[in-house]
Subunit: 336 residues, 2 copies
């Protein structure tokens, strides 16, 4: 359905598949906030010309290992995957390659990207900026993006995949609490006056607290400056276009691919270490110690068996949007 | 005095200056745990052959942008600065360069390195591993290093410098509380049985809690795996040699230097943004919002006026260690 809706909106088949894959992967891993919920906004952005679904971005190598990417309003996963393909190839010979991407749409769940390339044996870092939603540590106003980062590292088995945003929680979670009329814990957010609040509705127009106090704030700000410096993109207070259907997306993304040297036995040593951590005593015996990515992998594999739950209203509205079934000949062009 | 003691231990003048600079810079910035306190251990390690003060490491380019460094037991700042010089030069033409360093001694305060090269216009990331002192989130045993990272980004003025370790506090701070017989806040550390404790003495033989809960744990673990993969160094449970004078240092370090593309006006935009953050309303009016690195810079400039405070016992023992004054001819070789 996701692919069909994108095709119907004029997205070329391979690009539609890439965007749909990203959204469905987020659903499979239990992150519906990065899943099909985003599809209607993407379709609206395409219809308004805020997304050009045909481009995969204009790539130019500034230097042997630095790739400048003008996203040309392309779909986030299309532009990012094209950049990663180029970086991965370059890193194989050069050791490392970096891309700064501006003018691309929302990349969505960053784990999607780093996992794919870590699975092929390379280390990948992905950093993105976003609208100002997070307050500086000790401050009252939202001045930083949620600035997610993901890190993928190959192991002997499934790659290590870390994917986190630099707010203590996501604004999506605050919205869920507000919808259900539930209070949020103190320490998650401030209201619009900059006062600590447990009222989810007030928090929606306020600011998220950075994770990890001053240290997490520092990491969020470092990502803000790194991405702007490398991508030439806007800083949080000026960023628009990942949460609306009115503005061009002017945030930035940075991708780093490193080809690790060969260290015989290291993959096995890492696997054994991760198993030691998993099997180490837990503070709460009902909650075993886990490695970042374990939960997503478990949820994904359950969802592939049992399916995913989609909000009834969301399903109905996506179903309504399907004004016509794409012809079989178009669907045949879509790789499985 | 620091330089003289290192010269007396047989350290070549330029290397002695580099190591002493690092320690004094930590003192100036108000981080005595990374300052002269470390000098006696360094001297003991030199006298036992655990440090070879003459080498700056064996560098080999695995590929055009990946520098493999065997530290050859060299002094941390000597090996790291030599690697950074090579990376900075390579990044100017290639766009980016990465080093994996194994078998070097403790790098100490990472801000020292990233600031120096960010001041020359390049983006620098520094990551190190260390002895297992931090427990996984939800776990009971110390299985991760404190795994510090530093990020330096050029601005129009002083560079942005972030430098943090991935424990919620340092073990040094726990030791200070224990010395003074003070209780530590709940949430800083576990005792040796893995139970939360406010007893600093019990915490000394326990485990530090990761900063930022699951997210900070994830970042610490990512650094652990990244560094081991790129440097071929040991993982935390096997690491020795940064806190003792008995073992070869087998932790690793990763340095990344990126030459940022030119984006006209960006430095001024970044400066203005940082000023907006600094001048934004504070939750506590007595504690203005600050940018990472501001405090260290302020302390450094005060200390350059007023001097630094050195613990009386530490001073006495360093003074005692000076068995002979180096001859003036040797001191003349030391650049100012």
């Amino acid at each position: 359905m996701a692919t069909a809706l994108l095709l119907q909106a004029g997205v070329p088949p391979l690009h539609a598949q890439s965007q749909a894959d990203l959204l469905i992967e987020a659903e499979l891993r239990g992150h519906p906030s990065h899943g099909l919920l985003r599809l209607q906004r993407l379709l609206a952005r395409i219809s308004k010309g805020l997304i050009n679904p045909s481009t995969s971005g204009l790539q130019s190598w500034n230097s042997p290992s630095f790739l400048d990417v003008d996203g040309q309003r392309g779909l986030g996963p299309v532009v990012a995957m094209a950049a990663l393909d180029a970086l991965a190839e370059r890193a194989r010979t050069a050791g490392v390659a970096v891309a700064g991407i501006r003018n691309a749409n929302h990349l969505g769940m960053l784990a999607f990207y780093v996992e794919r390339f870590a699975r092929k044996g390379q280390i990948v870092l992905a950093l993105s900026t976003s609208e100002a939603l997070v307050h500086p540590w000790g401050g009252k106003r939202a001045l930083l993006g949620t600035n997610p980062m993901a890190i993928g590292v190959p192991t002997g088995g499934d790659p290590f995949v870390l994917d986190l945003a630099t707010g203590v929680v996501s604004m999506g979670k605050i919205h869920h609490y507000a919808q259900r009329g539930e209070a949020i814990p103190l320490g998650w957010a401030l209201d619009s006056l900059g006062n600590a609040t447990t009222d989810a509705t007030l928090a929606k127009s306020g600011a998220l607290t950075p994770f990890g106090a001053a240290k997490g704030y520092g990491i969020g700000l470092a990502i803000e400056l790194l991405v702007a410096s490398l991508a030439g993109s806007a800083l949080a207070p000026e960023v628009r276009g990942t949460l609306d259907a009115e503005h061009v997306a002017n945030k930035g993304d940075v991708l780093i691919v490193i080809d690790p040297p060969t260290h015989p036995g290291l993959a096995q040593t890492i696997d054994a270490y991760l198993e030691v951590i998993r099997n180490s005593p837990a503070q709460n015996p009902a909650r075993p110690v886990s490695i970042p990515g374990d939960g997503a992998r478990r949820r994904r594999s359950l969802a592939l068996e049992d399916g995913i739950e989609i909000d009834v209203q969301l399903w109905a509205s996506l179903d309504n949007a399907r004004v016509a079934t794409p012809s079989p000949s178009v669907l045949q062009d879509v790789p499985s």
